[in-house]
Symmetry: C2
DNA sequence: CGTTGAATTGAGTGTTATCAATGCAGGTGG
DNA sequence: CCACCTGCATTGATAACACTCAATTCAACG
């Protein structure tokens, strides 16, 4: 977000930005609140949630390192979701007035903001096309592909089944059954303390069954991502 | 979008904007194209589509009057969807350079753009929470509520069953069965040439069954909307 | 060792997908 | 005008799938 700033500007920004750490299931902000800040994930995993009338929740999208949430606050809207940390998560809290002044001072910064809006939109589309389309097995497969895509070793955090269900639009039991089946078939291996190590080829096959989007649009694997993440937040996985 | 401009500026803008009319099923732009313009719907209905591997399509969201699509082009991205007119549709084609120069000249115009991005994001969330959650009947009910929400008379266009299925993540047959059942139960009445007249109370009941989002977020009814739309584009409905 | 919360599994039911047939327009050409 | 086609909506029968409810297992923790 701040990639285009000069060193001096960066220093100014740094002083008013809070670095926060949230424990699993802690809320970062609540749906309906009037927001005075937006947030970027530095490390960890965040779910954006909308509550359903029966007390359940629907996860609208996930946010990982570098993703920005609460961006709607910048156009004066109340937060549209509740943001909840799914593991120990380090978050940057950026007050609105910082963004405000940057947009005023640096004309190109507005474009940075638009890029972030587009990122959120891409993620929202993914939620529809990949996570809410086709049979449960294909959805789970696409989720594992997504979660493991930044890892060179194809590892990913082991989300709890309830969250998987809420994200994929299926029940907890269905999510559990599919994951158990995948484990039995060695589509992934559970490495305790390290998350799941996925057979991406197998997952791609499963993901392609019925109603598959043409070409899943995932980040290229980021080398070294495992090395950085694992030791710092081992409790982040599993 | 141009609400904050002065009269003179508006005149400048008007000269470089194209007014286009698309027939049903005509594509406005294609997924993957590098875009040199964005579009606003003046009248009609547009679907944003992502192709699936089996030749089917998934409708990501709908765009109605005043909605803006192809906004991703402004940050240099290729169009993320194919935009297709669902009825006779009048569209405004705004070249990127117009937006470009407005953002440079009028600092507050960037904020207008961000508002539009947020509108798209809200619609994307709706696709997930309302249209891709819960049993088929509830999804269809929420769609009819959405389509009829701008009409004081609670009328809405009669989408073809294939499109309903592609938008709701169900098959054409299921969409047809649900609609036929609704018709038999007088949940709506088909007024040929005018679309469907919906019993919104009944729809709200059905929409609330299982997995319902807390509070559907629809526009308030716009008085006079029917009067304006119906005579101009009678072929738009039915 | 008992408690707790989550994951897993089972049995039964309900919904939806699939495949296939039928009905119902609006058009075209004889 | 009618036969014919075509595209779409509708309907039926069946199988696959996912949901519900309930029981069981498992791991973590005090």
């Amino acid at each position: 977000l701040f990639g285009t700033l000069h060193a001096a500007e960066l220093e100014d920004v740094r002083t008013v930005i809070d670095d926060l750490v949230f424990q699993p299931n802690e809320a970062i902000y609540l749906e309906g609140e009037t927001g005075h800040a937006l947030f970027t994930v530095r490390r960890g995993l965040v779910k954006l949630v909308r509550d359903l009338s029966d007390g359940e929740e629907r996860i609208v999208r996930l946010q990982r390192t570098a993703d920005i949430s609460g961006i709607e606050a910048f156009v004066g809207a109340a937060y549209k979701h509740t943001a909840v940390a799914m593991c120990v998560t380090e978050v940057c809290r950026i007050p609105l007035r910082v963004i405000e002044s940057l947009v005023n001072k640096r004309p190109d910064f507005a474009r940075q903001m638009m890029l972030r809006w587009q990122d959120n939109l891409d993620d929202a589309d993914r939620g529809l096309v990949e996570f809410s389309t086709g049979p449960a097995e294909a959805r789970v497969a696409r989720l594992l592909l997504h979660l493991s895509c930044r890892s060179a070793a194809a590892t990913c955090p082991d989300m709890c089944r309830k969250d998987m269900g809420a994200l994929l639009g299926v029940t907890t039991e269905t999510a559990s059954r599919v994951m158990a089946k995948f484990k039995r078939g060695s589509v992934f291996v559970d490495i305790p303390g390290c998350g799941l190590c996925c057979d991406r080829k197998a997952l791609e096959d499963i993901a392609a069954r019925h109603w598959c989007p043409t070409g899943l649009r995932h980040d290229p694997a980021v080398l070294g991502c495992d090395a950085v993440l694992t030791p710092v937040f081992p409790h982040c996985f599993g």
